[in-house]
């Protein structure tokens, strides 16, 4: 680690970076981990395993705070969450067990790929559309639910489909979450929406609830190997908490969709930088 031990300036800088990561993550609905790990590794030179461990704890805390609002307004579907959680939690343990022994170049490479995927999917997200979920189909798993959508002022009912496929994707999301310390929402929200035909608001609410539980599995594995560093975790938790509050207020005032191209470019920049790091080649803009 190149981080100066107990240097107050570094601790404050990590807190500020975590706050910025949380603001961006909150506005994009991606969670802070997607930005936190690349920034800690690329700009602070922190060992990726300690960055992933810190991120996992931060994602847990963020989910604990963020879930209450989604639960209150019934955007969270507890049955769907528990069904998919079996897949994501198991995947997270497998991913974390690999992550703690993996060559850092593998972590950089996979993370770079995930960020580039997130950047591209953000650009094309507006092009996609999902037809209204059918609510007259059989529901043998009793996964159907409803919530009041404040935007239209009425109840929205839905019955998730393709539960098997959703669980399959959940395993992959869990593995990514376990390896990289991100929540997995970057994979699960589109999967629930596009594959299972869950309305976006319910997908986000259910995912926010799930990512905390998924990341707990990751965090305990990294804790078991001594990769939870309080000098990273404490400023990151404080920064992410404050940033999340700012981000949620900004989201109400600014239409994040308008900034999607800028955010995509940031994700692309971080993703390509990590790929260069994985290949141990200096990025042209860092040379």
């Amino acid at each position: 680690m190149t981080l100066s031990p107990h240097d107050p300036i570094t601790l404050i800088a990590i807190g500020v970076v975590a706050a910025v990561a949380a603001i961006l993550g909150s506005m994009l609905g991606l969670g802070g981990g997607v930005f936190l790990v690349p920034i800690l590794t690329l700009f602070f030179g922190i060992d990726p395993k300690f960055a992933v461990g810190a991120s996992a704890v931060v994602v847990v805390t963020n989910s604990v705070v963020g879930s209450t609002n989604h639960l209150r307004i019934r955007f969270t579907n507890p049955r769907l969450a528990m069904l998919l959680q079996i897949a994501t939690a198991a995947g997270a343990i497998a991913g974390a067990l690999y992550g703690v022994v993996a060559d850092p170049r593998v972590i950089y490479g996979v993370f770079g790929g995930v960020l580039i995927y997130a950047a591209v999917s953000m650009v094309i997200r507006r092009e996609r559309s999902v037809s209204a979920p059918p609510i007259d189909t059989p529901d043998p798993l009793r996964l159907g639910a409803a919530f009041r959508d404040p935007a239209i002022g009425s109840d929205v009912g839905y019955i998730p489909g393709n539960a098997g496929w959703g669980m399959g994707v959940g395993v992959g999301a869990g593995v990514i979450s376990g390896m990289l310390g991100v929540g997995g929402g970057v994979v699960m929200v589109p999967a629930m929406n596009l594959l299972m035909r869950v309305p976006v608001k319910a997908a986000v609410g259910t995912s926010t609830f799930m990512v905390g539980i998924t990341s707990v599995a990751t965090a305990f594995v990294f804790y078991s190997q001594g990769f939870i560093d309080p000098t990273l975790v404490v400023p990151a938790i404080v920064g992410v908490f404050l940033g999340g509050q700012i981000g949620s207020r900004l989201t109400r005032r600014i239409r994040a969709q308008r900034l999607s191209l800028l955010f995509s470019l940031i994700l692309l920049y971080l993703g390509v930088s990590l790929l260069f790091r994985a290949l141990e080649i200096p990025a042209p803009w860092q040379a």
Partner: protein, 139 residues
């Protein structure tokens, strides 16, 4: 509306819409939503209080933070000895255990509401989390 089941309110009213039935089904889970909100809220409040206490103790006693969270067994000893790093490690562990407790609460509430299937699924999730906790205990 072939997804409706006999235990749902509104069965006797044919004019009830499918969305209305789903909304009624969701509202039957109100005790679960309330219990999860309560667990998350107090889990965060107590964890934040512990974290704040640890930070204040570290600042007052000029005690540097550890670079690695201590194993479970040592954390309590550190707290008893009045070390800020022990309190901060306890806060981190508190945050990590909050979702685990929430899964227990969710499983218990599904059971109490008569939804055995999802109570058991929640217990499977708990068992998976238990595997990662067992790894942490064997550190």
């Amino acid at each position: 509306m072939n997804h409706q089941t006999a235990d749902e309110p509104g069965m006797e009213h044919p004019e009830v819409t499918a969305t209305g039935l789903l909304a009624a089904r969701t509202e039957r889970l109100s005790p679960l939503y309330d219990a999860a909100i309560w667990t998350f809220t107090w889990g965060f409040r107590l964890g934040a209080a512990l974290l704040l206490l640890g930070i204040v103790m570290a600042l007052v006693k000029q005690e540097p933070l550890g670079r690695e969270a201590d194993p479970f067994a040592e954390v309590i000893g550190q707290v008893r000895a009045g070390h800020a790093s022990g309190v901060i490690d306890l806060a981190i562990l508190w945050f990590m255990f909050t979702p685990v407790v929430t899964v227990i609460v969710v499983a218990a509430t599904f059971w109490r509401l008569g939804d055995r299937r999802y109570a058991l699924l929640s217990l499977v999730v708990l068992a998976i989390l238990g595997a990662s906790i067992a790894l942490a205990l064997n550190r």
